[in-house]
């Protein structure tokens, strides 16, 4: 599905990723943990193709395509989805308008016919229901005036509608209470079908109680410094990053 080799990336001349390697197969769930500022969000941005995030070395293969050569929108159409840590508010464009365009852009890429208004609405309703987002949120400006939790659920709603092959969830759990966390986790789990792959970026182990990962990676100083299974996440929850010889202060202040 995704193979990242020796990825180096910088923002404003500052090196953030320093030789990151990661390989993800179809259907796998990989959790990425790490202290604040480790480069977790940067990884998501680089994979999505954000302007200003410069790849200085390395390769990324996504389903047989050289990911780094594709435009942002092409990556999305090929099935890469990024749920943002801080989704931007866009007043003036409704959620509905966004998702209609978006779903049909992806369908067109897959040589599928565009959805009729009725078909779209049916799918959108189901997706909203899955994350318990009232239907009128579709009519509102994108994330406009949404609470933190509503923004996160809105991201998962979009993910469900777009049916991507690789989902990158950037701290979709942060700032959520246990109920909201469960809603988000259920939304994600509903999309686990053995084919779809996930990168779950999180700061806390607790999300992984709900979304069971196949692998847990620790990202620090711009690379994966340790890989294990769910037990690794539990250990970090208990001991912090200190046992890895990493600064723990970021964790404490988060």
């Amino acid at each position: 599905m995704l193979t990242i080799k020796n990825l180096h990336a910088s923002v404003e001349q500052k090196n953030i990723l320093n030789g990151l390697n990661l390989s993800i197969k179809q259907g796998e769930v990989h959790a990425i943990m790490g202290p604040n500022g480790a480069g977790k969000s940067t990884l998501g941005y680089v994979l999505s193709g954000r302007d200003g995030y410069q790849v200085t070395d390395g390769e990324v293969d996504f389903q047989g395509n050289n990911l780094l050569e594709l435009d942002v929108e092409q990556r999305a159409r090929h099935g890469l989805f990024l749920a943002f840590q801080y989704p931007v508010e866009i007043p003036g464009v409704s959620n509905m308008e966004l998702m209609k365009e978006s779903v049909n852009a992806v369908r067109q890429h897959r040589a599928e016919t565009p959805l009729t208004a009725a078909e779209f609405l049916k799918k959108a309703k189901a997706a909203c229901q899955q994350v318990q987002l009232p239907l009128e949120f579709l009519k509102r400006g994108i994330n406009e005036g949404f609470s933190g939790g509503e923004k996160k659920r809105n991201e998962i709603m979009q993910m469900i509608l777009l049916e991507p092959s690789l989902c990158i969830l950037d701290e979709s759990d942060s700032g959520l209470d246990v109920d909201a966390l469960q809603i988000v986790a259920n939304g994600v789990n509903s999309q686990r079908d053995g084919k779809r792959s996930f990168i779950v970026i999180t700061h806390y182990q607790r999300l992984l109680d709900f979304i069971e990962p196949d692998f847990v990676h620790i990202l620090a100083n711009g690379k994966i410094v340790k890989t294990g299974d769910a037990a690794l996440a539990k250990q970090i929850e208990k001991e912090g990053y200190a046992f890895l010889g990493l600064d723990n202060s970021a964790e404490a202040s988060a």
């Binding site: 999505s48 435009d71 929108e73 990556r75 999305a76 943002f84 866009i90 003036g92 365009e101 978006s102």
Partner: protein, 421 residues
């Protein structure tokens, strides 16, 4: 010989019943200074393209057989077509609603000549240089006369087209009688190297209502100078929408004069400019009488190397108490190479008025653009979704939905072409 001298010479050759008025304009022109960058109202618009143009001032040739103007679907308007300043529509054959009369320079009866002479260059202020040029050179005048108390249902649409290498100078005069209502659409276009002037003067009688559209759709090498000058009498209501594309050189002057009490004016204007197009809009609202209101919303998007100039002046005269006037100019700049020069001007000589004005220039919201693109939406489409909304709002405010439906896809298509990074 200077450009202006050529106009004057040619005007002196014209011999028709408007000649006395043409000579008056010539006298004013003889005193007029040719605008330079130091001339306040021409600070950001250079006339170099006009001075240098190959095309000579010449009598318009017989118009070529133009394809028939496409109708606006469902609108069923009364269409009057000018090609190169010559009216193609045989107005004597038109079935006109009761209360509506049309006449032209050529067809005017003795009494109609008197009416025309009493209005020609009367509403339009003398300060507009190219308005004077039009006074001198207009080779056709269309007079639209709406009788008191008449409600003209069918929209009247005046289309002016100018072909390659041609000139066009036409004049429209409109008199809307007391309590009468009418819709007038002025559409002027040329995709060619051409030179045209088109000026319109409108008297809106007491309690009369005018729904007005002025679509300046000149593009590419076209050089255009136009004006629309409207006088409002007691309780008259004007709802006007203006659209501007840019071209080699395009300048429009709008004047709205509140010469009666309790008159209301709403003016929405949109401009969409790409490539190295230039578009200049000067509007002046004069509140000479009390209790008037003006709401002016001017919004534009400027891409590539295009250049927009907007000057919006509101002048509230002494004694025009209880005036309410608001002027907003909002711009979006798509490219660092584009330019927007905007200047709202308020001059207030009455103490009991409500007045607001402002101008903003925004740039592309990169983060929002990125967000939409991560959802699979291509850049140009995302730009439309993010930025067309404030233009769409003005399209939605057009009172005629058929016209709005006809225009919207054209504006979206134009917008798509505009951004060049």
């Amino acid at each position: 010989m200077t450009w202006l001298q050529q106009v004057i010479d040619r005007g002196q050759q014209i011999d028709d019943w408007l000649s006395p008025l043409r000579l008056q304009a010539i006298e004013t022109l003889q005193q007029a200074a040719w605008p330079t960058r130091r001339t306040e109202s021409w600070k950001y618009t250079s006339l170099a393209a006009l001075e240098q143009q190959q095309l000579r001032l010449a009598q318009p040739a017989t118009p070529p057989a133009e394809p028939p103007q496409t109708a606006i679907p469902g609108l069923n308007s009364l269409d009057l077509l000018f090609v190169n300043g010559v009216l193609q529509t045989d107005i004597s054959q038109l079935p006109l609603a009761a209360g509506l009369q049309l006449h032209t320079l050529r067809s005017a009866s003795a009494i109609q000549r008197v009416i025309t002479t009493s209005m020609y260059a009367q509403v339009k202020p003398q300060r507009h240089l190219f308005g004077l040029v039009n006074d001198v050179l207009a080779n056709e005048v269309l007079f639209i006369d709406i009788a008191h108390d008449s409600h003209i249902e069918q929209p009247i649409r005046i289309i002016s087209r100018v072909s390659e290498g041609q000139e066009s100078h036409h004049r429209v005069l409109v008199r809307v009688g007391d309590r009468a209502t009418v819709t007038i659409i002025e559409q002027t276009q040329s995709e060619h190297a051409s030179f045209s002037t088109g000026f319109t003067e409108i008297e809106l009688g007491e309690q009369a209502k005018l729904e007005h559209y002025r679509l300046v759709m000149h593009t590419r090498q076209a050089i255009y100078f136009g004006g629309c000058h409207i006088c409002l009498h007691d309780k008259a209501e004007l709802n006007s929408t203006m659209l501007g594309y840019g071209s080699e050189l395009s300048r429009t002057d709008i004047d709205i004069m509140h010469n009666g009490q309790h008159a209301r004016a709403k003016l929405n204007a949109i401009y969409l400019l790409g490539e190295s197009e230039h578009f200049d809009l000067h509007s002046t609202i004069e509140h000479a009488k009390p209790h008037g209101s003006t709401e002016e919303n001017v919004r534009g998007i400027v891409g590539d190397k295009a250049n927009a100039v907007f000057n919006g002046r509101i002048h509230i005269h002494r004694g025009a108490q209880k005036t309410q006037a608001a002027l907003q100019n909002r711009n979006l700049l798509l490219s660092r190479r584009g330019q927007i020069n905007t200047k709202p001007e308020l001059e207030i000589y009455a103490d009991d008025v409500q007045c607001a004005h402002g101008a903003t220039v925004a740039e592309i919201a990169e983060e929002a653009l990125y967000y939409l693109r991560t959802r699979g939406i291509c850049r140009s489409k995302a730009l439309i979704m993010l930025n067309f909304g404030f233009i769409q709002e003005l399209i939605n405010q057009m009172p005629n939905p058929l016209l709005a439906q006809w225009l919207e896809p054209q504006l979206r298509a134009r917008f798509k072409e505009m951004e060049v990074r």
